[in-house]
Symmetry: D2
Amino acid sequence: MDFAYDAKTEELRAKLLRFMDEFVYPAEPVAEQQLHDAEDPWARPPVLEELKAEARRQGLWNLFLPDPEHGGGLTNLQYAPLAEITGRSPHLAPEALNCAAPDTGNMEVLTMFGTEQQKKQWLRPLLDGEIRSAFCMTEPEVASSDATNIATSIVRDGDEYVVNGRKWWSSGAMNPNCAIFIVMGKTDPDAERHRQQAMILVPRDTPGVQVKRGMHVFGYTDASHGGHAEIVFDNVRVPADNLIAGEGEGFAIAQARLGPGRIHHCMRLIGIAERALELMCRRAISRVAFGRPIARQGVVQEWIAESRVRIEQARLLVLKTAWLMDTVGNKGAHTEIQAIKIGTPIMAEWVLDKAIQAHGAGGVSQDFPLAELWAAARTLRLADGPDEVHRMSLAKRELKRYL
Amino acid sequence: MDFAYDAKTEELRAKLLRFMDEFVYPAEPVAEQQLHDAEDPWARPPVLEELKAEARRQGLWNLFLPDPEHGGGLTNLQYAPLAEITGRSPHLAPEALNCAAPDTGNMEVLTMFGTEQQKKQWLRPLLDGEIRSAFCMTEPEVASSDATNIATSIVRDGDEYVVNGRKWWSSGAMNPNCAIFIVMGKTDPDAERHRQQAMILVPRDTPGVQVKRGMHVFGYTDASHGGHAEIVFDNVRVPADNLIAGEGEGFAIAQARLGPGRIHHCMRLIGIAERALELMCRRAISRVAFGRPIARQGVVQEWIAESRVRIEQARLLVLKTAWLMDTVGNKGAHTEIQAIKIGTPIMAEWVLDKAIQAHGAGGVSQDFPLAELWAAARTLRLADGPDEVHRMSLAKRELKRYL
Amino acid sequence: MDFAYDAKTEELRAKLLRFMDEFVYPAEPVAEQQLHDAEDPWARPPVLEELKAEARRQGLWNLFLPDPEHGGGLTNLQYAPLAEITGRSPHLAPEALNCAAPDTGNMEVLTMFGTEQQKKQWLRPLLDGEIRSAFCMTEPEVASSDATNIATSIVRDGDEYVVNGRKWWSSGAMNPNCAIFIVMGKTDPDAERHRQQAMILVPRDTPGVQVKRGMHVFGYTDASHGGHAEIVFDNVRVPADNLIAGEGEGFAIAQARLGPGRIHHCMRLIGIAERALELMCRRAISRVAFGRPIARQGVVQEWIAESRVRIEQARLLVLKTAWLMDTVGNKGAHTEIQAIKIGTPIMAEWVLDKAIQAHGAGGVSQDFPLAELWAAARTLRLADGPDEVHRMSLAKRELKRYL
Amino acid sequence: MDFAYDAKTEELRAKLLRFMDEFVYPAEPVAEQQLHDAEDPWARPPVLEELKAEARRQGLWNLFLPDPEHGGGLTNLQYAPLAEITGRSPHLAPEALNCAAPDTGNMEVLTMFGTEQQKKQWLRPLLDGEIRSAFCMTEPEVASSDATNIATSIVRDGDEYVVNGRKWWSSGAMNPNCAIFIVMGKTDPDAERHRQQAMILVPRDTPGVQVKRGMHVFGYTDASHGGHAEIVFDNVRVPADNLIAGEGEGFAIAQARLGPGRIHHCMRLIGIAERALELMCRRAISRVAFGRPIARQGVVQEWIAESRVRIEQARLLVLKTAWLMDTVGNKGAHTEIQAIKIGTPIMAEWVLDKAIQAHGAGGVSQDFPLAELWAAARTLRLADGPDEVHRMSLAKRELKRYL
């Protein structure tokens, strides 16, 4: 269990912290104004392209990708502290570094399982930040935490596959730059449980693809993350070469995609929690009620101390998980991956709730980032399966030790 | 402690429940569609006027107002169960009955303290549901839970008063039908603590009134409640007759306005919690995961049972508070008024959170009312002063018994 | 829903409050000293007999029993506030008034189901406070919240019944004055689910009865309540006339016994919580830390306010349950009876935990009653079936409304 | 942040785990029986001496002491995982290894600050496990979390010091083998805040020392840890050479003593939590209710999963704290030392509460170790200062970053 930040990590952290101070934080109000002035509610702010250019120039680009040729060549443990830092400005920093979900997972999939042609056509522009992508997995009609429930069909017809189905919560798909979808569906519903599924590349402009609407989370469209689309695939035809890896490989790809994503999400949440705690402290110092700064009131001190205790614990568990994935693989880190999925969002939600309360009515409004970040943390108790499913699964593994 | 629903209450409940079933619930999808199609984001849906006409026809109108001439002539205890029922459709029912905040409080103020002229000009159209109103109290720069912090000035200048200041969270003020503001400010900053303030009527179209923007709560504009405006009063001049009651009376008016509002809010929250529990049960019955309805899973059963236990307790305390206000007055019910302000929102928030979780990702979206209602309940932990202020005050009174 | 304390209740409350002040509270240190000096760890303090005599003299005797001939002739709603008051001195007051569990339940059973002979032999001395009794239901080997699990057998053999089995948590049975057990067992294991059981009177000194040991609750023997015995019944023979009501009646008797007991337990818990809150307030006022009384520290104020809010809510729900039982019977109050079983112990546990914390290390010790009362409250989350069983059952009833 | 267990740690863990399996766990029922049969309620069970001899033979002796000559020569990080293992049998294992509080802290004090004579007379027999010791710090009359409140006086009189005062919660002092007290008192009440105190060695049999009574924690005497004594020092005279380090050094010694003790306590708590989780799992598998093992019920699975998540997080934070203390010293680990003091007991308390609930009524009784362990965990929320004091202090440090 060696979570120390090694020399490479420290160097990148220093560089990234400087980048945040010099470019990202100053860009926050600019982006907000640009979004406010934009006509297209799904447009990304122009300042973001400047941030991307600068990040790339500085070598802060595609750090998430373990592949040293195209990405940072970093281990999970090396990348985790960088993801945390980007979490402090979650609407700009991850995308500025080309390290934003769901592109990260999609690029990993293409790196691992893509054909040369697929890489050339879709991975290359994704790595260059020229296009964005979506991952179409969850379906409105079924409890998607059980992959056997997937109803979307991918049927071979000559040199093509025909895709039919309805997806939602396809994050990023409302972004005008989103050009390609990775769609999960069933190629063989009669195969055994985990060999029924496949993944296929569907360009967004393919006939039959209908992006119906963006889902809201607590009133937010999450436009800064490209929204969460509901999409109908109505007899959508794509070349057979668009299939990734092969029929029946969908479940395996999904599993491979999962682990690092959890680490990224959780580390960003820790960055979010750190920012919330900082805002809470600053507010507590500056706001006077009943004759003294609220920083001197016991209840607020409890919130601050308890936030620190919880953040520290959560971070260590995520780092341990990253280290485990690096050393024994995703499978060996199964319990920990689930543990951080359960524990981190609830920690962040708690800290954000207290930070909101310390801000008074302003805390729930657009004047502070807290309410929106809260909504993101709350939603992560459901995304990738509700906590309850993960707790059930973790418990069963724990119980097995005594059977 | 007799909280029994008497004959009059039962009769009105039966009538109102029928009205909900026959008119309000069916109007919900209509209103949603109308709002979706409207150009003005602050417009109210036309179907609402139909509901208002029908409610008035049925005698379900202004029930909140104890004054039997213009209102329902009901006690707090008689009105409370009706407010609960309207809470089950909080975007339509309260306004349909002309019982929506902040008009209710404003009409009470005008009934109790208004001059004949003020009543004629503003109370009458409010009672008729022709215009709506706002209450401008909270200010962005100060902790407004302490009334001595109010910075807005109301200065006599000949036959006029000149109002200067900045308000926010003026609920209802974004509604195009909102015609009149009751503004809290200081007429004499040097008077003793609770004699510095006054309230004055400011028509929304008075020169110098600038409605700057609507505040968001967790991504929602709360347009269905007329939003929450930030308003600048820049040398706004109104006739001296627009003052309510007199200089120095502002604090007393605010206190008088407070009690019934708390009852209304809390009873509506209980209605909201009941609706959430119903949705949770229906979802639990209909949704299958891992081979059986989630209604048969222990964790969901815990949520349902615990929700029932909490709702029952909260309702009884609100009813007791209503009964106390009727029998010993607002002052005698001080502890209970604070207790329901503390306990009810947190109860509703808890139930809504579990109902959301039972709905999966859909729960946080626009496809169910849960997330928006959650945001409303969460915000009530801050509105009218954060819980912490109320707990501090309640504790001091408790401690006094032993000093 | 009329929970008002009527004239009779108010009169008895006044009398009882006076009795508490004049006799019970002053007897607390006396009893403690007597117990400390006693040789028999299960002995009851002599001062208790003085309290009993005085209570009887004042007409504060057997108030729990609805039967006006032998008891108080009170409704559940009339008795509940009196039970609350006795809860403030739970080791002395209930027994002083001959209103202590499990005698109360046992006397109710004998009143309702006993033969003349049974009444004469056992009910009479119980009503006179001359002997005490135990109720032998729970068994160590099985989950006793499911009555069909009962393994004790009651087998007819000529003019006798032969009892075999092992019971535990038979409260009161360690008390040297305990003379009679009501034992639940099966007379016909093959009958339908709820007709298998019977109850039978077994004098404690019957050959074959072995009181093995007292169960501890968190280190306490609960000697002040007669302890909680583990008892073996080894071929215990009693006359056939000792059977209560008849073979197969055991389950029905148990159900009839249940409702009022819940009310009593819960109201006493509310009295306990009130005492804990009082102790917390007094401590907070008198204890100085870091230069000011802890009563002025925000966290302690939060505890006090929150305690008040929770106690008020719990009391109202118990009173409503009592009122329901009086008006629509135990069956109509089923949901509420379960709700108070779930909600009240957890409320009392919370208040006691905070009161302990406010007392520092002394709070967990024998110098204050808080730790022992906490253990009692905690145990009530398990007694009569764990919370989880009750929540499951309540949820199922709630869900049925939508099936 | 390298928390990996190095080769030496792994070797000792393996040896200790074997020792637990072969000797400690089998000795648990033996010890229980011996204690049950003993006449002196404070006697330690004879089997413990056998365990001590065996542990010493195996080199599992005084491992806590960093001093390689007399102790294990281990860092905090090396010792921590061993302390965790002893926590799984907290009544026997720590003492069996001569690693039980408060001897550990006292031996550290004597090692660091003792004179040759003091070491020879008291440290030697402590290291040999021949005698035990107590640490007399907390006083009944004052909030002892503030060291300036200490009222005990240590006054020079010729070649002697005269000690006067009253202490309580002097853990270990009820043990008949306890021979020596380290007493904190004031030598100069007028010196600056942290130079008023001194520590002095007082043999238990010195005239004027009166061990008044053992304090209970939730009904337990904690005899297995030598109890918690209240002690009066009435003109107790000891040679001046008994002073440790010098007048005015008491506060500094106390600080030095603190850090490692926190690590030990917290790691043992983690061992306790692990044992509770194991018991919960085993019970859940073996206990059937309503037709299936409770291990298959959702609520119990939630408890198990959540326990695992919380234990993992807590352990990592304690290990990080140990590592920090090893690398940057106690002062640099200040925040973390406080964080584990706050977070670990509350985690253990939570896990134990759920384990108790899973055991039904048996869980609160003497038939399982859970209730007693719960009481220990709960008490650690108060020992060494209540959580609230530590949260306040931690929050102030956090806030300072923004001042």
